[in-house]
Subunit: 459 residues, 2 copies
């Protein structure tokens, strides 16, 4: 059948992965997964497609705009009232043409999942989930429309022990990946709520959080200018500046916070939580990596307690390598009892880039056959098939060149794939009941019996 | 912040997977992946989202309808000419509101991938790909809108050795899964082309293929009635019936085909291919599983040579457990040189259901911690954290109950998760520098030193 010719192109913001990249990505996912499992987490999966009702209204206006919406099947225009269509009222027409979209993160699907399956789960429910999410963001270097998230959450417990365990997971994973030059910044949304209260700006709290969240990406002056535009006055900025000057070692910051927020009960809750976390981490692997950073804000609306962000200290990668926080009422919207939760997310796309730039992927991540079988004539093929079978039955990876073309071309394929051994089978070999084994590294070549093959490639 | 309450619901035709289901699915994918790797295939990934230009026109009209289309971001109505909108001309409006969709299978993305990255790949390119695909099909038992495919293809070689290797992969995977009661039906599209030619019906070949493809799902009378409606006459049906009566052992079928298609060159090519495949499979694992079945048609338009389908003989599962075929011009549409290909696909969703019904999943597929640490008081938590760390550093999976609630509730959690050992740490234990170890199977409980813990749970 005839097709119209088209240029092979990816949809913008999406990527293909070459075989070597898939091996590296699988390695990264496997390291994280192993730690999740060892800490008692179980894996779940949710669909890529969710109802728009589930997705919208959870990520703010900007987030809603970035959700990929899927067109209803069939005649999607038929149900739209004429007047909406004639007005080209996109917002109202949307409800008629789309009722589902692609998941924007793994957290909202988790909330839906937990409520929907609560009778089949054990609480506290410790789950992890590794999978792609989609955002209609403007693509740029390091930012994709389709990318992986890698999350662990504890749902159904308000104990700070979960925070401690998640911080240990962060430190263990980065240690295993040999990314030792990192810091885990932690803070608490209640301290920020208290700051807004102190400023008399609780009503515009989210503007405060969103702007402070940009402090690690841009300079303070820009953030302050934006805060001014967003309704904060000079006096408030002065107080924010004072707040941001609370720096130092964790213990030190905690006592400064006690003074700064004297008699503020919300702040006290946040400070006490941080005190518990810091003291419980004493003498653990995470102790040296975790630091309190009062400027940490996290933009997302749903965090209500502890927040965390992992940063690269080596200066190679700006932006976070991981993040997390506690949310207290995410499951509420899906009905049933309210369950508190706390989770972390690895920025696997950024971590991948950082491992690449630092050359930290293991050298032995290859899927290369041990031996390539090269038939010289069509009538050698049945023998080659049987020989390859024996090698594979012994647990080795073997490849067979699919056609009896010139041996030079077959050897070229072996070289390109870096296959260490080649077995040549021609009519001569068939008659002698032997094979020719070529060591592609040394160039050595010898006639051996088929039975001896396994012992030769075992080395 | 307050959310509007909604009922937690999945989008139709999609599924969540509980932790136990994820373990089973991972087992199934791992078995297949191990065999792919041992046969020298490499893994690739392509994005879920592809340009509609890439996807449409490859799966027939019905297929195009079933592709999920994604709404363009922003004001998707603004560019539509008013007259199209007023006419509610869905087909023409579509081009203005959507330029991307979700992949419908893994084969068309492979064709795009191979052309786009040909300078970075080695040919023949043997790749496998495991991932979800999406179809806006009416959901029914066993049919989902989002489901996994699991494909291996050899691109860039027209050698039948690839067919042989793919059939060996089929037989090896089903053997490993202990699904031994299966048959791999094979045939050749050139034999069907020849049949159409002999009937003088080449112009309506695709109607012949699509209808014959239904022979394993419905009875012959229905298929013949449909053929009549699709333009075949009684005399042609008689000849088709004669053709379908070609049955028996493979060798037998091949000689009958020689006679039936005497002097037909297209048929001869197909028959010779099958002869090569059948004779090369002699003395291999696949020999007993493969049978020629002239009624096999495969509905898909792009197959041009060998075709295959795996069927369950036990009668538990109707429909195919796997399928495949050779296609000669799939890469052509994306420009560059034409590359032949041949591939197989495991029907992993059906195989999963069959393994479940037959109870063939391994019993030891569990991710259960060896030990649960139970703190009795908040001040026991730091000790518990350090102890858990030691156990995890020794490679064991350990869980920590996140809050010092009543021990009965903590033990209840251990029982539900089937955790074999529990370590209780209260103030008494802290003072004595010991821990209480409880064997949840026997109920035995004893005070031991923290240092002795590893040796106790190692058993």
């Amino acid at each position: 059948m005839a097709f119209k010719k088209i240029k092979p192109t990816l949809s913008k913001g999406t990527r293909d992965f070459l075989p070597d990249e898939v091996l590296k990505r699988n390695y990264l996912f496997a390291v994280i997964k192993e730690v999740f499992l060892r800490y008692g987490f179980v894996q779940i999966e949710t669909p890529a497609i969710e109802r728009l009702e589930t997705l919208t209204g959870k990520y703010g206006e900007e987030g809603d705009r970035l959700i990929f919406k899927i067109l209803n099947s069939g005649d999607f225009l038929s149900d739209i009232p004429d007047h909406l269509l004639h007005q080209k009222n996109t917002a109202l027409v949307l409800h008629y043409v789309s009722d589902k979209g692609l998941r924007y993160d793994l957290t909202v699907p988790l909330a839906r999942y937990v409520v929907q399956h609560q009778d089949k789960l054990f609480f506290p429910f410790k789950r992890f989930h590794i999978g792609p999410v989609w955002r209609a963001d403007r693509p740029q270097r390091g930012r994709y429309q389709e990318f992986y998230q890698c999350d662990a959450d504890v749902v159904g417990s308000s104990s700070l022990l979960s925070e401690v365990e998640l911080l240990l997971i962060f430190s263990e994973v980065f240690h295993k990946l040999k990314l030792t030059d990192i810091k885990i910044h932690i803070s608490h949304r209640k301290i920020l709520f208290a700051l807004a209260e102190k400023l008399g700006a609780s009503a515009i709290f989210s503007r405060l959080a969103v702007n402070l969240d940009k402090l690690d990406k841009t300079d303070k002056q820009n953030v302050f200018n934006q805060l001014l535009q967003d309704g904060f006055n000079e006096e408030q900025l002065h107080q924010i500046d004072e707040f941001l000057n609370i720096q130092g070692e964790s213990e030190d910051i905690l006592s400064q916070l006690d003074i700064y927020f004297k008699d503020n009960n919300i702040a006290k809750e946040g400070i006490n939580d941080l005190k518990f976390i810091v003291s419980t981490l004493k003498n653990t692997k995470a102790e040296a990596l975790v630091k309190i950073d009062v400027s940490l804000a996290r933009g997302l609306d749903y965090y209500t307690g502890f927040i965390a962000e992992v940063r690269d200290l080596s200066g190679v990668m700006s932006g976070s390598l991981g993040s997390g926080g506690r949310y207290d009422n995410l499951t509420e919207i899906f009905g049933g009892r309210n369950m508190p939760g706390v989770g972390i997310s690895f920025g696997v796309e950024r971590i991948y880039d950082l491992l690449s730039e630092k050359g930290l992927f293991p050298q032995d991540l290859v899927s290369v056959p041990v031996v390539l079988f090269c038939p010289l004539e069509t009538d050698c093929i049945p023998t080659v098939i049987i020989l390859a079978q024996t090698v594979r039955d012994n647990g080795f990876c073997a490849d067979v060149y699919p056609s009896p073309i010139k041996i030079a071309k077959q050897l070229d394929y072996a070289n390109k794939r870096k296959i260490p051994f080649v077995v040549i089978v021609g009519r001569e070999e068939l008659q002698a009941g032997q094979i020719t084994l070529k060591n592609m590294t040394t160039g050595e070549q010898s006639r051996i019996s088929a039975e001896a093959l396994i012992s030769h490639i075992k080395i």
